[in-house]
């Protein structure tokens, strides 16, 4: 038992959803709906229970870094909330050994009217540090946050970046035995993000146990040798990261874009049933080199004839930045009328996208209206040097002029080779 940091046995959390569980913000509402139910004699049929988490059992050893992955609503945040005692589980139990720090959202304990200095103490004690402890770490916290100059300004005047920096700096100095991180690293500018990642790694070296929830598979890969994959509230995989990510990537393919609402309740008129990413030899891959061409093959099923559709294939970076789109309309590809099952293949030019993780999206438009939108396969682009933190979205060589006005040589930049 000595080396166990967290031991969870059958953890579950149930929420009530549906009309009768609708929140009564006032007694009047409650009385009204109770009266209504009384007369309608309808037993609360539309109450449904929903398990946000079920049967979660696992053991995490001291010093282990574990990634928690899963699609939106899979129960990742619920799990962290249960472990950090914010919500009480409906069933099961867990034992936690050592001091636990949870960073579920940075800066929630901040008070707008107070200065940065006062908030350091406030947030520190909310996270569980004593006053003396914060005082002792104060200088290091301020230095880490890089906002010394504004420390006596009320935080309501801070930019969101400064706010996050200060909050993270406090949280980072909690020195917990177990740290629960929920996507907080995805905030702030890139150099600060890197600092945070470095900090997380230093915690790792110190032997802290870290539970890390993220949608960024790249961060998970670099930080955690083990992942717990949650699907609809259940632990479906617990083990080596590569294997877990494969399952996750297979599942996250072809999910409907979360913001898209189909025109009818039967679903969109056209559904993309498969998206495959192939290299130039026709082999399916998920990691591509910088500057490589990629073939995207999609299969679809249309439930009604669609006249001259515009099929758009987009590429989004891991932080949801829309990088580019390819469109049958703008490339003047006549598709005629499509119906039933079909296949479409598009080969990209040499992609100048820099090293990061990307998601493909497929959207279908008919007469200017979007009728389908789906998230597709996830792929990575790898390059040692061309990281998005330094190079932005894409990189292409420039033409440089070297020397003085009179005596100059034009040096054409040579494309940095993709590995």
């Amino acid at each position: 038992m000595g080396d166990i940091a967290i031991k969870a046995k059958g953890l579950g959390k149930k929420y009530k959803i549906g009309a009768s569980a609708a929140r009564h913000d006032s007694v009047r509402d409650m009385l009204a709906s109770t009266a209504k139910n009384l007369f309608q004699r309808k037993p609360s049929s539309n109450t449904s229970e929903f398990w946000a988490l079920r049967n979660a059992s696992f053991e995490i050893r001291r010093g282990e870094n574990v990634g928690i992955i899963g699609l939106n609503g899979a129960g990742k945040s619920t799990l962290l909330k249960v472990l950090s005692q914010i919500v009480t589980p409906t069933e099961g139990s867990a034992i936690i050994q050592g001091r636990l720090g949870a960073l579920l959202e940075v800066g929630t304990g901040f008070h707008q009217e107070l200065t940065g200095r006062e908030n350091v103490f406030l947030y520190g004690s909310i996270l569980g540090m004593s006053k003396d402890e914060v005082a002792e770490k104060y200088d290091r916290i301020v230095e880490f946050s890089e906002i010394e100059a504004f420390i006596d300004t009320p935080v309501k005047r801070y930019s969101s970046g400064m706010y996050v920096r200060l909050a993270f700096a406090v949280a980072a100095h909690l020195d917990p035995d177990i740290l629960l991180l929920d996507e907080v690293l995805a905030v702030g500018d890139f150099s600060f993000q890197k600092k945070c990642m470095d900090f997380a790694r230093s915690l790792e070296r110190q032997g802290s146990t870290i539970l890390f929830v993220s949608h960024n598979m790249f961060s998970i890969k670099t930080m955690c040798p083990r992942v717990i994959y949650l699907k609809k509230g259940q632990v479906v995989f617990d083990g080596a990261t590569d294997e877990g990510l494969k399952m996750y990537e297979a599942d996250s393919r072809l999910a409907q874009a979360p913001w898209f609402h189909p025109e009818s309740s039967d679903g969109p008129a056209i559904t993309v049933t498969e998206i495959e990413l192939l290299d130039q030899k026709g082999v399916e891959r998920t990691v591509f080199n910088y500057g490589e061409q990629m073939t995207i093959r999609i299969r679809y099923t249309a439930s009604r004839p669609i006249d001259n559709p515009d099929i758009r294939i987009g590429i989004n970076r891991s932080d949801d930045l829309h990088c580019c789109s390819f469109s049958t309309h703008s490339d003047a590809i006549p598709l005629g009328t499509i119906n039933g099952e079909g296949m479409l293949e598009m080969t990209t030019p040499a992609l100048p996208l820099v090293s990061d993780q990307y998601t493909t999206t497929v959207a279908v438009r008919e007469r200017g209206h979007q009728i389908s939108s789906q998230l597709g396969a996830i792929f990575h682009i790898r390059h040692e040097e061309l990281q998005s933190s330094a190079f932005g979205v894409f990189h292409q060589a420039g033409h440089w002029r070297v020397g003085t006005e009179a005596d100059s040589t034009i040096v054409a930049g040579s494309q940095i080779s993709g590995d």
């Binding site: 913000d25 010093g63 282990e64 139990s93 050994q97 579920l104 929630t108 020195d175 083990g239 080596a240």
Partner: protein, 294 residues
């Protein structure tokens, strides 16, 4: 160990450093009725003092007049009561105490009590963000709600002493009695907050109800009039209001007229103890659901 966890990477080769804390936390769905986890309050005492500190600072920083509000509020109340109840309605005052002193001695604990109840019962909702995202014993919020207005009370108390000197009422050793009495008032405020705060999380009506509830309560307490005006046969009903004993005690401490109402204080304190115990259990039972419904 399940087959799945065999895939888990072996423990890190280098020796692990000492834990920062050897605390073992058990997370489980049910707690016993009487497991009030009062030790948690002690563990989080730092947070409690920070919350109080923050409440006080924020209050005074947001307002242009700052700390002056602690004085203005009771002074205005006393001025209005003096005009309405002493000058116009000509309410009798036992002894020869000037009406402003007579009223101030009651307004002082009442203002504190009303403010403590208001903050204690609305704190959870105002701190919804904190409750949703961070773990700490939730009772810290109503506790800080009843502690923070004590600062206002102390400031107003100094004003009362100044007013007494101004009007020729000499303060005596009896004045020290106000401190245990304000403690009784704060326990009353805590007891009510422990009941109202969880209800307020569920039904926001509490906020609206509270305003007129406190107003009615004030007239049911001897704030503007003397408790000696209450008919003898109703005194025992009157004493069920714990603020009666507190306010009578304050009056005696300030003016020296009459004697402390020990019967009312006794009944009041017993009621407070019962309500407090019930409130603690009620609050603790519902605490687990705050993050789900707030």
């Amino acid at each position: 160990m399940t087959a799945q966890s065999d895939l888990v990477t072996s423990p890190t080769p280098h020796p692990l450093p000492k834990r920062t804390s050897d605390r073992v936390t058990h997370i489980r769905p049910e707690r016993g009725w009487l497991d009030l986890e009062l030790d948690q309050i002690w563990r989080f005492r730092g947070l409690l003092s920070t919350l109080v500190h923050r409440d006080v600072m924020v209050l005074y920083r947001q307002a242009a007049l700052g700390a002056a509000w602690a004085i203005i509020q009771p002074v205005f109340a006393v001025a209005i009561f003096t005009i309405v109840f002493s000058r116009i309605a000509k309410l009798p005052v036992p002894g020869d105490t000037p009406y402003p002193i007579f009223a101030f001695a009651a307004v002082l604990p009442w203002t504190y009590f009303a403010e403590a109840v208001r903050r204690g019962s609305s704190g959870l909702v105002n701190e919804a963000n904190l409750v949703r995202k961070v773990y700490f014993p939730r009772i810290a919020i109503p506790l800080s709600g009843i502690i923070a207005p004590l600062i206002d009370f102390l400031l107003a108390f100094l004003v009362l002493i100044a007013l007494m000197l101004l009007m020729g009422v000499m303060p005596t050793w009896r004045l020290f009695i106000v401190f245990p009495l304000i403690l009784v008032a704060s326990m009353m405020a805590l007891a009510i907050s422990l009941w109202l705060a969880p209800i307020n999380v569920r039904f926001r009506d509490v906020k609206y109800t509270l305003t007129f509830m406190l107003q009615i309560w004030m007239y049911a307490s001897p704030v503007v009039y003397s408790s000696s005006m209450v008919p003898e046969k109703w005194r025992w009903v009157y004493a069920l209001n714990p603020m009666v004993g507190v306010i009578d005690g304050f009056r005696w401490a300030v003016t020296g007229v009459g004697q402390p109402n020990f019967v009312a204080l006794g009944i009041g304190s017993t009621l407070i103890a019962i309500m407090l115990a019930g409130g603690l259990i009620f609050f603790k039972r519902l605490e687990r659901t705050f993050a789900d419904i707030i």
